[in-house]
Symmetry: C2
Subunit: 289 residues, 2 copies
Amino acid sequence: MEVVHTIADLQSRIKAYRRRNDQAVGFVPTMGFLHEGHASLMNKARSQCGLVVLSIFVNPLQFGPGEDFERYPRDAERDLAVAEAAGVDLVFMPSVSEMYPSPTRTTVSVSDVTTRLCGASRPGHFDGVATVVSKLFHIVQPDQAFFGLKDAQQVAVIEQMVQDLNMPIEIVPCPTLREADGLAMSSRNVYLSPEERQQALVLSQSLQIAKEYIQSKSSQGFTSTELASLVRAHIETAPLAVVDYAEVLSYPTLEPFDHSHSISSLIIALAVKFGKTRLIDNLILQVRK
Amino acid sequence: MEVVHTIADLQSRIKAYRRRNDQAVGFVPTMGFLHEGHASLMNKARSQCGLVVLSIFVNPLQFGPGEDFERYPRDAERDLAVAEAAGVDLVFMPSVSEMYPSPTRTTVSVSDVTTRLCGASRPGHFDGVATVVSKLFHIVQPDQAFFGLKDAQQVAVIEQMVQDLNMPIEIVPCPTLREADGLAMSSRNVYLSPEERQQALVLSQSLQIAKEYIQSKSSQGFTSTELASLVRAHIETAPLAVVDYAEVLSYPTLEPFDHSHSISSLIIALAVKFGKTRLIDNLILQVRK
């Protein structure tokens, strides 16, 4: 495994690989502090691609004022061990000035799918995501890029961008990984106090409750409003939980729906704060029509 | 020369070329109704690249409401003859639905260099340009792309986008071509009545006057305001001319400057309406400091 810090070094290595090989180049963009969820993306890339490139870059552009850019957890040494174990070939760890040598004047914006959920809670966040992913895609020029569905709206944004801008890249969405007790894996879980960590189980529990409710109602149908209320009510049983949003939308269009809409998939999406820590989770379900 | 109408057909041909050749792929994006200015871009591409790709696409996204999208001049047959004569290998002529199968939700925006000139006169224009050029770059994946400096602000926007988004493409700006009497070549010149065509000479004349003024003042210096006034005064000697803008800015940053700024290049940029027809022209000058 090689670790490079500059765009020039990365590109010369990928170019050399491309000259000698016809196999796909797979790319896993991350913000580091890698956990098993990230490792599952690297494993997937390893199984499908000849060259696996991992990027570790905490992108200031996608953090709003007052968000956790400065304190976002970082551990380069452990990250490199995780990457090595997952069979990554090339790790790209650029500095902020390597990625933004001058303030960027170019922004990639995706509308509609960014109207709700984190797009509403974190203004500018998805512009920052789309812009940096666009940069990374141009730098790496992968055949496939792997993203975790814990950030389902991010996946929808990237897929929309790739489709609209004709980017020659296949996006591979990968399932959310969970701790044994159900908590979705996230780099931000380390922020939680033991008490918050315990109460944070209401996120995955509420999704499970929603799933069972849908199954029990399969013959009569259900409304997105009653489903959202059910989820919110369970989250609010945790005294430390402050709901940012708990919504039921069509997927991947991320729009409200009712019985008059014929949708094929829905998402139950949650963002909940415990103290200063904001956690997200979701469940995507096929709807039988 | 081959003519293709779909992205899939274009890409299979470029891919086949790349497999057998190491030479550069050159790209000339146009809106058609080709004139000698366009031909000079194709000639330049021919001299530098192994494969020359021309696109002809009148992009609705870069026309505002009330602008001339519908009546923009089109002549596919003559365009193909011009392309063939210039040694183009591959012409891409997509339909609007091939380029935009559904309404695009993704926009590429460039700030700062779009604040003034056509960016101010034509809101949304450069978003449309940056977005479609981004799409075309991803579709063609050229090594070099050729743009005419008659659209100097467009060149500045594309260069900024390529730099900010790390697009792996070299932008080659090419000089404006002029008719024998000085009028800058433009597809829109066909709109002009004989009287308007005659009076439109004030554009290039005013740039010439400005150039001579700068040369005469080289020892004393000059202000951008006096230069802009001089240019505007000459344009207004044409009874049919309505000045949209006549500005003197730094180049390629396109910002106002005065004696306290140390600039290396300036642009004198004009947009003038004759009836419904809007013409632009400019002169870029190195400034001795």
